[in-house]
């Protein structure tokens, strides 16, 4: 029976009751599609957020990204920091009726690390996962790791018996030649079950009446998800009331959407940091008028670039106010920015620094930029080109779709760039990831350190601190070391952090929803009138 007929029936006597406790259908549109239901196939925020409805991890992240018990009720860490013991929640059942036990955790750990999995980093290499009893699991690490569980909110636990029964014990690899059962079906322990799934067309989630959490915050009976790639259509669908929630709202439409009165745009800072990088490795830049030397090896040139950029103009004009300028390469939600400020915008000072460095007339340099990856990425780069022109640097901008862009600038393309714009969200929600992946020296080809360090910024002191940070369990000491490392990198002007872009979700006024800074749209907290 639909909500309407219920209301009609109740109109005579109980009109007041209707509309409050009714279970609702929520319709949601996102610009990207849900590509696979196998939670180990794609390592990407939107997919993880979708799969967070049918699946759950050992931990959860709350509304403010705080770590909460999930399928594990509690955990203890041994004194040497190498053994983690998790007490699993009892009485939990998978959607298919299977009991959730330690076997499922051990199985999921093996599956996540199997070839073809894209979430291999969730469980560190060499870790032994041992079943102690049906509801206790021990993780035995090779070295202490205080952030072992940080990413486990998106390491979803699968049922061992279900996977074995349906021939899905191996993760669906990128090169699968036949579809696996797990990529088209889901069997988790979460608040919603997958009712139907047409890849790229529509996915329907139904409420799980047997969820272990007996007092869910949401009042939904169903979530209908449709991908709508076209910005204009997505906004129109929200305005016409055909969908209740959309993500994202293009920033040029925010004012118009808010002006309608029936929908509103929730905005907030996102965890992703947008930054500029300058090649500091090559002895001669790939694309520059300066021959025989690399101007970016000179800290004065890097500082000049930094100070030539008018971050406030980028914020107000390009981002229409929806950006938070950042002095650090990490969002303030993940590491506090206290004690850090951006080097002041000062074109005269920048010009002087360039002159001191031996480039009184500036020079020419090529710049690479994606134009369909981050919010207004292409426009940001154009603005940067204009700002650098003021200090005499001529930038040849090459803005292209992400497919080509990433192929050119990342490691497989041989870091083929001189100056570029990139965005980064640490997958672990922790500073170590930033220090290791984008600020670590790339000089050891055998190590994965600095693989995303396209600029090749390198300071051995940062590396030393990074190695201590990964094993330090004392939070105060650890934070002090992180701060020191970030300070060194900031003083080196190794990168030019720009801002954290804003999230923009379009939400019908009938729906109450919590916006999380990691841009994961979770309807466990959604209440619809």
């Amino acid at each position: 029976m639909s909500f309407k007929t219920n209301c009609l029936a109740a109109v005579a006597g109980l009109a007041l009751l209707c509309g409050t406790a009714q279970a609702q259908t929520l319709r949601y549109a996102n610009q990207g599609e849900l590509k696979s239901l196998d939670p180990y196939t794609v390592n990407e925020t939107t997919t993880h957020a979708h799969l967070g409805h049918p699946y759950e991890g050992l931990i959860r992240r709350g509304k403010n990204l705080e770590i909460l018990p999930g399928l594990a009720e509690s955990w203890t860490i041994s004194d040497d920091g190498k053994t983690w013991r998790f007490a699993l929640r009892k009485g939990v059942k998978f959607h298919g009726g299977e009991d959730f036990t330690a076997d499922d955790v051990v199985f999921s750990a093996d599956r996540a690390r199997a070839p073809g999995s894209n979430v291999q980093t969730r469980v560190p290499t060499g870790t032994k996962v041992v079943k102690i009893d049906d509801h206790t699991v021990e993780f035995q690490l090779t070295s202490p790791n205080p952030i072992l569980h940080y990413q486990w909110d998106t390491w979803y636990i699968l049922s061992k018996t279900w996977a074995e029964k349906n021939n899905s014990t191996a993760p669906t690899p990128a090169s699968a030649t036949t579809p696996t059962f797990a990529s088209l079906n889901a069997n988790g322990t979460g608040a919603f079950k997958v009712e139907s799934h047409q890849p790229g067309v529509k996915t329907v989630f139904k409420v799980n009446e047997n969820w272990w959490n007996k007092s869910p915050e949401h009042n939904l009976k169903e979530i209908v998800f449709t991908p709508i790639a076209s910005d204009a259509t997505r906004v129109a669908a929200l305005l016409s009331g055909e969908v209740d929630v959309i993500e994202p709202v293009p920033i040029q439409d925010i004012q118009r959407v808010n002006g309608t009165g029936t929908v509103q745009v929730l905005t907030g800072p996102e965890l992703r940091t947008i930054f500029l990088g300058m090649d500091q490795v090559r002895d001669e830049l790939v694309e520059s008028s300066v021959k025989g030397k690399n101007p970016f090896k000179d800290i004065r040139v890097r500082k000049a670039f930094y100070q030539a950029i008018d971050i406030e103009t980028i914020k107000t004009r390009v981002m229409r106010g929806l950006a938070t300028p950042s002095p650090l390469m990490i969002a303030p939600e993940l590491f506090p920015h206290t004690g850090f400020t951006r080097a002041k915008f000062d074109a005269t000072e920048a010009k002087k620094l360039l002159t001191d460095a031996g480039y009184p007339d500036g020079f020419t340099v090529g710049m690479d930029c994606p134009n369909d990856r981050y919010v207004n990425d292409g426009q940001i780069c154009q603005a940067v080109v204009g700002m650098l022109a003021r200090i005499g640097v001529k930038v040849n901008l090459n803005a292209q779709p992400k497919g080509q862009y990433f192929a050119k600038v990342l490691k497989p393309g041989g870091y083929n760039t001189s100056f570029y714009l990139l965005g980064w969200t640490p997958g672990t929600s922790d500073s170590h990831n930033v220090l290791f992946d984008i600020m670590g020296c790339r000089d050891n080809p055998a190590s994965s350190r600095g693989e995303a360090n396209v600029a090749g910024y390198c300071n051995k002191k940062v590396d030393e601190l990074t190695d201590k940070i990964i094993v330090e369990a004392d939070k105060a000491k650890r934070d002090a070391m992180i701060k020191e490392a970030f300070q060194i990198a900031a003083d080196d002007f190794g990168y030019i952090p720009l801002h954290q872009q804003a999230l923009a979700w379009g939400v019908s006024k009938k729906v109450k929803l919590t916006q999380r800074a990691d841009n994961a749209v979770h309807f466990q907290y959604a209440v619809k009138e």
Binding site: N43, I228, A237, S240, F406
Partner: protein, 326 residues
């Protein structure tokens, strides 16, 4: 005749092979598919492993030969983004595209022919001028703009028609889905069909108008009038009938382009068809889908052209004669 058919078939095969080769060569410039599969912080060793397992490390010609060999056996591989066989993805979406194309073709004929007749008969009336103006819009405005304008008017402002999707669909048989049997399905078809069919409609309207004007000057129309036939019978029984031959030829040929150019309309209306799948695949560097779609479309055009050629040969004895002389 047999030699003629054989030669045309052979030519068609060459065309399709060339399309495949050009498409395949272009894929080298659309970017790295592996980056779309992995996350930015995926270890590079793992990235290299995925690239190797997809066979992307092999030389261009090896990849191409492997592709043709598989395509010949109707194996188009597995989509990088969905991890599903391309053939089943395209098959699942074909009904949506075909239904939309058919409805647009129908719309363009049902609306275009009367409009063309009217503008030919009442050249000076204000309504004919309005039709002419509309046809100008249909010819000159880009499809995506027409689509967005229609959405804005009928979905957002008036709230009468849906802005995206196919509505409720009914499953017929094992794989065909149709929106023609439900109210929401029919409503969902209106705006995309108009958007997609508008260009064809104006084309047909202008064609019918020009042909009608031509035919109306012909002697047999004068004789028909002289015989004292009713105007209605002259216009529709004699004039219109004779204009329809080229119209049907054009409409038939255009059906291929409607299917091929549904890409934009499908994207604007989030229509779950093959064109939308193709465009998303370009963005996601999903080479197996792109390749299969291009092959499919080239097959469509080759088939239509072949059919037309054969029909002409059957209809026109002169053509047959020259063929025989070769």
């Amino acid at each position: 005749m047999f030699a003629f058919i054989l030669r045309r078939l052979f030519q068609s095969l060459i065309v399709m092979l060339s399309v495949a080769l050009i498409a395949f060569a272009m894929f080298r410039f659309v970017g790295d598919p592996v980056n779309q599969i992995v996350s930015i912080d995926t270890p590079q060793a793992q990235v290299a492993e995925i690239r190797r397992s997809l066979g992307l490390d092999d030389p261009f010609l090896v990849q191409f030969a492997r592709y043709i060999w598989n395509a010949a056996r109707l194996e188009f591989g597995v989509s990088y983004q969905f991890r599903l066989p391309v053939i089943s993805l395209l098959g699942e979406r074909a009904p949506a595209t075909l239904e939309l194309a058919l409805m647009s073709a129908l719309f363009s004929l049902v609306v275009g022919i009367p409009m063309g007749v009217y503008t030919a008969l009442k050249r000076e009336s204000w309504l004919a001028k309005v039709f002419q103006a509309v046809s100008l819009i249909g010819i000159s405005l880009p499809t995506f703009l027409i689509g967005i304008l229609l959405i804005y008017l009928f979905s957002v402002t008036l709230g009468v028609l849906p802005s995206f999707g196919r509505g409720e669909v009914v499953r017929l048989g094992s794989w065909w889905t149709t929106g023609l049997l439900t109210v929401s399905g029919l409503k969902a078809l209106v705006l995309p069909s108009i958007t997609l069919g508008l260009f064809q409609m104006t084309l047909i309207m202008r064609l019918v108008r020009a042909e009608m004007l031509e035919v109306l000057r012909a002697d047999y129309i004068k004789f028909a009038r002289a015989r004292g036939l009713k105007t209605r019978a002259v216009h529709f029984g004699h004039a219109l009938k004779n204009t329809l031959v080229p119209v049907i030829t054009i409409a038939g040929l255009q059906l291929g382009s409607i299917i091929a150019f549904a890409i934009i309309t499908e994207t604007v209306f989030q229509w779950p068809g093959m064109g939308q799948l193709f465009l998303r695949s370009v963005q996601n560097v999903d080479i197996p889908i792109m390749a299969a779609y291009l092959m499919l479309i080239s097959f469509l055009f080759v088939t239509i052209n072949l059919a037309v050629d054969l029909l002409y040969a059957a209809v026109d004895p002169r053509l047959r004669a020259t063929v025989g002389a070769h």
